[in-house]
């Protein structure tokens, strides 16, 4: 589904991705973790070309993302992207958020788009909020709508960039539940997250990034039980005891 080959990316003179080579199979759920500033967002954003790369190759579903003939908008519409800050459109209702792209880009009739959107909203537990505006929802609800909005384009691949990091702790669970449900349904997913419980239970593979490199990749049981790289050991002990440094 995804092949990443020797990708390098610079922001000016700062190299944010160093020779990254990875692949993700269809139906696989991959969790990416690592300290802040390690390049996780950068990596996931290069997958749908929100960030350009300077060298290397990314092939998604057989399409060379940076190839000369790629139709960028069509390419992106096949990749669902969920942001840390939700980024719902605040001037239209929840339902309209979920029908805007399908009617304009998939050519659905308004009634079809509406039915599909309501089904998706029901799936994320928010059918009752279809007529509300995003600003009237809690963070957790907004993020679930954002997932439904992305799903409305029927993408075969979903990318998540720290989808629960901007949420109050009591709302993290409801969003993870939706993601878990998606994974169970066979969706191919790449999730940047620090929710290690989610990684352990749902991921097929976990990647650890630091300073623009993928330092370790393993199935969750291996990843947590036998971390090899010292940076990963440090990282895992840091997130298990978040106040250790301060103490």
């Amino acid at each position: 589904m995804i092949q990443i080959e020797k990708v390098n990316k610079w922001y000016g003179s700062y190299q944010a991705l160093v020779n990254v080579t990875e692949s993700v199979a269809k139906g696989e759920v991959v969790v990416v973790c690592g300290p802040s500033g390690s390049g996780k967002s950068t990596l996931i954003r290069t997958l749908n070309r929100l960030e350009p790369i300077q060298s290397g190759r990314i092939v998604i579903d057989g399409v060379d993302a940076y190839g000369p003939h790629v139709k960028l908008n069509a390419f992106r519409s096949h990749i669902g992207f969920v942001f840390q800050q939700f980024n719902l459109f605040p001037h239209i209702t929840v339902l309209e958020n979920c029908t805007l792209a399908p009617t304009r880009l998939r050519g659905l009739k308004p009634s079809e788009a509406r039915d599909e959107a309501l089904t998706l909203l029901a799936r994320v537990g928010l059918a009752a909020k279809a007529r509300a505006y995003p600003g009237e929802l809690s963070g957790g609800q907004q993020q679930r709508v954002a997932i439904a909005r992305a799903l409305a384009m029927r993408p075969p691949l979903m990318l998540f960039d720290e989808p629960t990091s901007a949420l109050d702790p009591e709302m993290v669970g409801e969003v993870l539940l939706v993601m878990r449900d998606l994974a169970r349904d066979g969706m191919t997913m790449v999730c940047v997250t620090h929710e290690m419980g989610f990684a352990r239970d749902v991921a097929d593979r976990v990647l650890f990034m630091d300073e623009g490199k993928v330092l370790e990749r393993a199935v969750p049981s291996e990843f947590f039980a036998r971390p090899e790289h010292p940076r990963l050991r440090q990282f895992l002990s840091d997130i298990r005891t978040p106040f250790a440094e301060a103490a």
Partner: protein, 232 residues
Amino acid sequence: MIELIDTYWLYFLVGQYPHGPLGGLALTLILAVLGLLFAFPLGLVFGIARVSPWRSVRWPVTALIQVVRGTPLLMVVFWAYFFLPSLTGQNTDQFWTMLTALVVFDAAYLAEIIRAGIQGIGKGQTESARSLGFSYLDAMRLVILPQVVRNMLPSLVNQFVATIKETSLGYIIGLTEVSFIATQINTQVLTRPAEVYLLLGLTYFILCFGLSRLAFWLERHLQQRTMAKAHA
């Protein structure tokens, strides 16, 4: 003062109409409304061009806007008055001259309001629209601009106030808007300039103050709505 109003109120409001061209306060308002109405779409296009990722679009429009904004309206009126006929090959009457000047001038100011509005919308909005598969222009049209226009409603009313005041410069080219009419009345009465111009001033003030209050109310109303949403 009362007899002044009693004698000249109709002339003040509509000029010589229906025996001559429409003038007075009616002309002032029509000019201001049409000026803003035509300036708005132009300002929208200019504002979008101002933040365009394509340099060949951004630069010429930026230059044009800077030139217009760095020029007094009076100069724009003169340009329109002397330049437009040589450009189109026929004489333009005062109304169209003034309207052209107002539209160009206001469009430049509106463009800057719209540019600021676009830049004030977080880049997450564009990114999420683009990642759904919308083109740059669709993201602008469907996601960014509706939010910008809603946010700029108070600025639009304020711009209308400015435009109303700007129409008084039509006086220079003999346009029979309300200031011109007031001067005519003054010439006829001869003895009471203070009262005539007090009435003219009051007319502008009531109109503009009322609209400013409306802008203020709109601003508070929109603010409260966003606050209510944020706390919901």
